[in-house]
């Protein structure tokens, strides 16, 4: 992985009547794969659109592959493959028509790869798009994006609404794309399993604000759930840096995003009987982060 930034967003804000993208800053190195996670309406698609120059930010700076956005977006788009759940292909045209159209604009179009993807995705190039299932439409979109061999892939919810088989096919293809270390990918999803599988860094967004952005491994490493029992009559032990505490009788489940190896011992010193220290899935962390962030806002 090189150290050049494929995407650099600095202090980007955009005000809508009922929503604000607030001071969003994201850095993604060339060759990196970033999972962009957030609940529905968190600002994932708006952020993607800002990066593509499809929505102009009120403030902040955006640079994509060395091009200032939005001023130099046309040149940047030569090297960006963008697919979105909000995007449709022309229903009355065939996949072949779309392939010819995209090929006529992008000299980097790889026909051999496109043909291979048609087979792998089990698509019919002479069938009109309106005859495709949802999964086939998503795969067709992905094909048109991948076959132009872009340096940067921006995928907005690429697996949303797919059946398990189509989802597997799309993820497998993305896994192959990931083998190319020069290809940068930013993909948004509220499916944390996809993100956990594909990405090497993670950005959480909620209510228009980035609440965390870090490499995946150290991020997962930071989070733990400590389960312990409090003896009758004792107070629940406390620890600094705890994100949530759930109690069920004398059983306590403590979640922290700042885990230190000596934490269980500190709890034991306060009388707790440790039942276990568990790793958390990205989904569990995601929910904990969002809840913690919202509680912080409410306070």
């Amino acid at each position: 992985m090189s150290n050049q930034l494929a995407i650099s967003m600095d202090g980007v804000s955009k005000q809508y009547s009922h929503f604000r993208l607030d001071d969003v800053s994201i850095q993604l190195e060339e060759g990196g794969i970033m999972g962009f996670i957030g609940p529905n309406g968190a600002g994932k698609s708006t952020t993607m659109r800002v990066i593509m120059g499809l929505v102009l930010a009120d403030s902040g700076e955006i640079n994509v592959l060395g091009h200032a956005i939005p001023d130099d977006q046309a040149r940047a788009k030569m090297s960006i493959g963008f697919a979105s759940e909000d995007m449709n292909l022309y229903p009355t045209a065939t996949l072949q028509w779309h392939m010819d159209f995209v090929r006529s604009i992008f000299p980097s179009w790889d026909q051999q790869y496109a043909d291979a993807l048609v087979k792998r995705f089990d698509l019919h190039h002479d069938l009109k798009i309106k005859g495709f299932s949802h999964g086939q439409k998503v795969k067709a979109q992905l094909l048109l994006v991948l076959a132009r061999r872009p340096r940067l892939l921006l995928l907005d919810e690429p697996t949303t609404g797919l059946d398990p088989v189509a989802r597997r096919e799309v993820l497998d293809e993305l896994m192959e794309v990931l083998a190319d270390e020069e290809r940068t990918i930013l993909f948004s999803s509220h499916n944390t399993k996809d993100v956990e599988q594909l990405s090497d860094s993670i950005t959480f967004i909620d209510r228009g604000c980035v609440i965390e952005s870090q490499d995946k491994e150290s991020y997962l490493e930071r989070w733990r759930r400590i389960r312990f029992e409090v003896p009758e009559g004792s107070r629940t032990p406390t620890l600094p840096g705890v994100d949530s505490v759930q109690k069920a009788g004398r059983l306590v489940s403590m979640t922290t995003g700042n885990f230190e190896p000596d934490m269980p011992a500190i709890l034991q010193d306060q009388g707790a009987v440790i039942h276990g220290v568990e790793n958390m899935t990205l989904e569990e962390i995601f929910v904990a982060e969002v809840m913690s962030s919202r509680q912080g806002e409410a306070a």
């Binding site: 593509m52 499809l54 788009k77 995007m87 604009i105 979109q141």
Partner: protein
Amino acid sequence: MSAQIATRPSRASLFRHLALKDWSLNQWPLLAYTFCGLVSLFLITSQNKVVYHSGFVVLISAVIVFGAHLVFSCVINETNNRTLPFVLSLPMTFVEYSIGKMLFAIGSFMVLWLILMGGIFLVTNSQEHMLAGMLPYFVITMGYLFVAFVLTLSVAMIAESHVWAIVVMSICNISISIVMIAIAGIPSIGGSMGQASANWSPAVIGLLSGEALLVIGLLLGTLFIQSRKTEFL
């Protein structure tokens, strides 16, 4: 980086690609309307008054439907069918996309418009029973149809709403008979319609100039508003 730096196609090339795309998706309906227009030219050569007047109705209808198809299929449907993100993911800005749309729509409309205008002049000069005094009146009416098309196109592009496009198109089409009556009521135009030669009076030139200025103003205004937009989807 070993990845190649991709060179962006020229603007002219992009406009050509966009035009070819829209033509490819709409060629058959547009050719059908053009055929209807050509049939109307044949009908107005008839000395039978009913067929002659029917010819004019078909001609005006062909122009209106041709324009409506361009506006709805090429502009409104791009938004409604959510194909706009696909086009805007290509190496172009929103303003370039808007210019490309306008070039194709205006260009296509002008092809039919000029064919029918030329056809009327040809038919009038080749048929003894047709009076050339009608030509200024016809040209002003065709000019009005051009203005109505550009106005509908502008509203569709700016508002990106089929409701607004339908409202403007309906008003323009309902008012065409009023406009035609009003034009015929101008003495230097209505009084010359029964003459054997065309009278390109100052009133005719004034109206045609007004229509041309309106078209230019609408196009420039549309481009200005498009360039001020901050959200394109």
